[in-house]
Amino acid sequence: MNFDDKAAQAEAEADHADHVDDDAVKTSHDDHGHDHDDHSHDEHDHSHSEAGHDHTHDAHSADAHSVEKPDTMNGQLQVNMDHYLDMPHLMAHVQDSTFVETPAFMGLEHTDDDGHTHSGFGIPNIFGVTQPLIGTPEKPFLTGRLTKFVAIELVVAILMFVIFYWLGQKIKSGKKPKGKIWNALESMVVFIRDEVARPAIGKKDTDRFLPFILTTFFFVLGLNLFGMIPGFGSATGSIAVTGVLALFVFAVVVGSGIKKMGFVQFLKAQVPTMDLPPILKAILVPLIFVIEIFGMLVKHFVLAVRLFANMFAGHLVLAIFVAFIGVAAGTGLYYAVAPIAVLGSIAFSCLELFVAFLQAYIFAFLASLFIGSAQHAH
């Protein structure tokens, strides 16, 4: 039998007791897309397969021989595909969870609240949540439990505070930037101020909104970049996170517009002034008003969806790329598919890195554009 496996393979198998679970399917499949180093290790791990194999037999011998190995290659492929290219399974790797998955060779194990065992460490339930805040235990809507994404957001926020407090002190001292980190940070801040915020909002008003735009940019950038780290994910891959960010942008846009012009005047400013005979005006102005209000809501909603979809889809495709290794396992195709999948996922991760920066920039750019258009009436 040809396979190289890790204990995590058995972990993942025990997780899906309803799926086919046997020796023929054991592969190097582990974390989707977050484990490039491990996959390159896998090529060298053939010698460890015995030790790993024995361990998995000891831990999960009940599942080891539940299904016969299919006769044909297509049969084996079908079995693998049903197990690995299973949409809920793949999406679970990209979405929020209560544990951080680590490769099996690190030897960590974690049993989550449902009783499933994974290789990794759990996010502690610091608030001691047992009942969901909103919703029932079967269909929770808001649990209030500390999850991976929330922990990542807190880490990014604390990191940002530390880094930019340091930068602020350096700027306050008035010296010229020296060294790589200082120069890099300052060049990014100046780029956002001069190329993104000032052209959109205008020189006068930019300084009021600059903290918000800079915070948004670096927060989104930090969250996106955390998705490149194996085991963690990008918290912006959750519509809840991006939805709240877009909600804040909406609040700043509408709030600053109302503060500048007053509520009624702000509404009036949505419709451009036109010279029309009164009868046409009575028809067109309400129509345009409705379209503009709807358009404003849609613009901010799409802001959230754009960021969410880019991050979510990127990591999902990466997961599928790596799942192909599992799909080809146990067949002759494996030796062709596995190297290509590893190289492909590395290349795709480079694209993901570019998309992380690009989407953060686009988010900040559009936010400043919306703020600018609300500050200056049409």
């Binding site: 044909t72 290659m73 297509n74 049969g75 492929l77 079908q78 595909m81 049903d82 290219l85 299973d86 949409m87 799409v302 969806v305 754009r306 979809a309 880019n310 979510f312 889809a313 999902l316 690009l358 989407q359 686009i362 750019f365």
Partner: protein, 75 residues
């Protein structure tokens, strides 16, 4: 005859995703073409043209990804 390997996804979702990608490909291709043409006319403006191209492409991709995700979920 050997069995055919099938995925769990419906073929309609696949068609939807294909259509969305056609739209994105056409749109972004047009942007890329105009950008390259603009750079050919005025090499000095290459930086600005490139920035504008990337922004427009990202906006189109946002809509495309939205369609793809909806197709995934519904398919």
């Amino acid at each position: 005859m050997e069995e055919i390997v099938t995925t769990g996804m419906s073929s309609f979702a696949g068609i939807g995703i294909g259509l969305a990608v056609i739209g994105a490909g056409l749109g972004i291709g047009k942007i890329g073409g105009s950008a390259v043409e603009g750079i050919a006319r005025q090499p000095d403006a290459a930086g600005q043209i490139q920035t504008a191209m990337i922004i427009a492409a990202a906006l189109i991709e946002g809509a495309t990804f939205f369609a793809i995700i909806m197709a995934f979920i519904a398919g």
